[in-house]
């Protein structure tokens, strides 16, 4: 990532997105699911922020809450979202429309949910541009052809006439990248963009996203469960568990000096194919958290090796480990037992 210099430490004025104390609930027949609990983070220009976690950790719901794309059962019950300096959490649907797909480009796991099967790809790209940028159809067509060429689609002016089903899965995801980036967004949000793809196709798409992001200097949020994808593409990482951010830091902090027992467990669960000797996997015991009745304190406490008396009733604050590296764990407390802290600080 040779693009923008890192401005992580620069004043908060420069941030593109700031989320404060976001809370989202789902009302289901079984009860209220608190999917996002008090989540705060920022995205800075030019950086790629990864959000990792397992299914149900709240990573996708966080994004849907920010963009207000929640299903009918979901509701944002607290917090604020500042995008490019403005508080968009109070915006109405019309004003959100002007942000979504325009200032914020979006890529989802399944391109077919966002592409309309009855219109040609060109029609959708042009329509999208005309709607958001107010340029003529002719100018839009020129830009659409350029964009398709840029995402690596051969013979773009011909392919403009094709319909989504005439593209393969990988090509469709390229079209999605084109649609997401054609409006020159300030922020690109990709939610599991390569999860449905095969490894060789995933490599194509990741390579494409990395190249375009550098060329266009867009900030990006990449939501994924794949630690390999994070290691390869992200500058900073948020680790989520049970609707909360449990650890955040630069990619090296997370992979080489993980502090939170969950992050450590996650890393211990995946084999490193480049490791010189075959290491035994150290899985996290137990099952994913039940969000209907989460523990009062830290959501990870039932599965945590280092659980202490304080953990089950009191949620720990996010405590700095280094500048920009924070872990929400009682082990970080200066008065926590040293032995456990040392054990928890074991790195790969």
């Amino acid at each position: 990532m040779s693009a923008a210099p890192h401005q992580t430490a620069v004043s908060p004025r420069s941030e593109i997105l700031r989320v404060e104390n976001l809370q989202t609930e789902f009302h289901t027949s079984a009860g209220v699911v608190r999917a996002v609990r008090d989540v705060s983070f920022s995205v800075f220009p030019g950086e790629t922020l990864g959000i990792v976690g397992e299914s149900g950790c709240g990573k996708s719901v966080t994004m849907a809450s920010i963009l207000r794309l929640l299903p009918d059962t979901g509701r944002v019950v607290g917090g604020s979202v500042f995008f490019n300096g403005a508080d968009i959490s109070k915006y109405n649907d019309v004003r959100m429309e002007a942000i979504r797909g325009n200032l914020v480009g979006m890529i989802f796991q399944d391109p077919m949910t966002s592409l309309n099967p009855v219109y040609s790809v060109g029609e959708q790209l042009i329509e999208h541009l005309v709607k958001h940028k107010g340029i003529t159809r002719k100018a839009a067509r020129v830009k659409a052809v350029d964009m398709l060429a840029m995402v690596g689609i051969d013979n773009p002016s011909e392919r403009l006439k094709s319909f989504p089903h005439q593209f393969s899965g990988g090509m469709r995801q390229r079209v999605m990248v084109a649609i997401a980036l054609i409006t020159d967004p300030l922020l690109l949000i990709a939610d599991e963009p390569t999860t449905a793809l095969d490894v060789t196709i995933q490599a194509q798409i990741l390579e494409l996203m990395k190249r375009l992001k550098a060329e266009l200097e867009t900030a990006a949020i990449l939501i994924t469960h794949d630690l390999g994808v994070v290691a390869d593409t992200c500058d900073r990482v948020l680790v989520m568990y049970g609707g909360k951010i449990v650890e955040q830091g630069r990619v090296g902090d997370i992979f080489y000096r993980p502090q939170h027992p969950y992050t450590q467990g996650l890393l211990g669960s995946v084999p490193n194919p480049k490791a010189p000797v075959r290491e035994r996997l150290v899985p996290i015991p137990g099952q994913p958290p039940d969000l209907l009745s989460p523990p009062k304190g830290c959501p990870f406490v039932p599965r945590c090796r280092y659980a202490m008396a304080v953990c089950s009733d009191h949620m720990p604050d996010s405590y700095p480990v280094a500048d920009g590296h924070k872990s929400a764990c009682w082990l970080q407390h200066p008065r926590a037992p040293r032995a456990d802290r040392a054990a928890a600080g074991v790195t790969r």
Binding site: E54, T200, A203, G228, R278, P283
Partner: protein, 334 residues
């Protein structure tokens, strides 16, 4: 593992030769096949006692069909499946039944592979239902549940009450209840969360050691396959393109497809991942209904030559214990 190496030389537990399974996806009005999907198109491999053979490949490569055909859920078009000296391919369903005690399967989707209307006890003991009295079946279910880390409290519950990882363990218990020698694991972890995947993989490894099981581990996740397998077969479009011991295949891949696949594999280590030079393959896997002439991989191969479109490369030994199907001299490009 050491004592099994001796028997290994004698006879493999499973020997598959030239296995072919085609599906007719479209028929004419009178029932003549119009489009044929060549899911498995001449696959040969062996599995030795006590080892784990990994089969990797991308979607549509036929790896799942291989597993299902070997266990005779599908009727093979041709080829032989020699299991411990008996060819399973020509057997009828009734003749096959005794072998099902010895050859079992674990399925991919923990949500779809358990009947939602049956209790855990009934699911686990389904295969021995006719042979055991109800009390014995309860006992067996209890023992099997304990083997996979669950307990008696779970015996009378229904599948939807369990998490994905627990369900997958119930699926393992169902296979183990038959006391098999060999289990074919068809993408057993790909539907599970990362932290749960490791639980299931560790459990399979422990069970293998304890019970002396032979495993076939089918998956698309290369790093997990490398982790669990002693040998690996790489499939592409209905064929095996390369085999080798897990360590050697990763250290020195011969076939261009294996090379690309390995280089595309995400690595959970930022420094290594970013230093990694990827071979980016162009385009997509062709449809198995329209298999390219000659070498199947030539449409995406960075080293494709004229001969590749004319002649199918032979699956040959390129180094001791290493087989690859490529026209390049030793499989390694200049």
């Amino acid at each position: 593992m050491n004592d099994s190496t001796a028997t290994t030389a004698a006879a493999p537990l499973l020997e598959v030769r030239d296995l072919v399974k085609h599906f007719v996806v479209k028929r004419s009005f009178v029932g003549r096949p119009l489009t044929t999907l060549r899911a498995v198109d001449g696959v040969s491999f062996t599995v030795n006692r006590g080892e784990t053979l990994g089969i990797v490949g991308e979607s549509g490569c036929g790896k799942t069909t291989v597993g299902r055909t070997v266990i005779r859920l599908y009727e093979p078009n041709s080829g032989s499946i020699v299991y411990d000296g008996t060819d399973l391919a020509p057997l009828t369903f009734e003749q096959m039944r005794p072998f099902r005690r010895r050859l079992q399967m674990i399925f991919q989707d923990p949500y779809a592979s358990l009947n939602p209307r049956m209790t855990v006890t009934d699911i686990i003991t389904e295969g021995v239902r006719d042979e055991l009295r109800p009390a014995d079946r309860k006992d067996l279910a209890k023992r099997m549940l304990e083997t996979v880390g669950l307990n008696d409290d779970h015996a009378n519950r229904y599948p939807h009450e369990f998490s994905g990882g627990q369900r997958q363990r119930i699926g393992i218990a169902r296979a183990l209840a038959m006391e098999p020698d060999m289990i074919i694991c068809d993408e057993p972890i790909s539907a599970l969360d990362v932290s749960i995947q490791a639980q299931v993989v560790n459990m399979l490894e422990e069970l293998q050691q304890k019970l002396g099981l032979t495993l076939v581990f089918i998956a698309h996740d290369l790093s997990m396959v490398k982790h669990i397998s002693s040998r690996i077969a790489v499939m592409y479009l209905g064929r095996i393109v390369e085999t080798g011991s897990s360590y050697e295949l990763f250290a020195r891949p011969y076939h261009p497809y294996t090379k690309a696949l390995l280089s595309a594999m995400p690595i959970p280590d930022p420094d290594v991942a970013r230093a990694n030079r990827r071979i980016i393959l162009k385009g997509d896997v062709p449809s198995p209904t329209r298999v390219p002439s000659g070498c199947r991989f030539r449409t995406r191969c960075p080293y494709a030559m004229k001969v590749c479109s004319e002649q199918e490369p032979e699956f040959r030994e390129v180094a001791p214990g290493r087989f690859s199907a490529c026209h390049l001299e030793d499989g390694a490009p200049v």
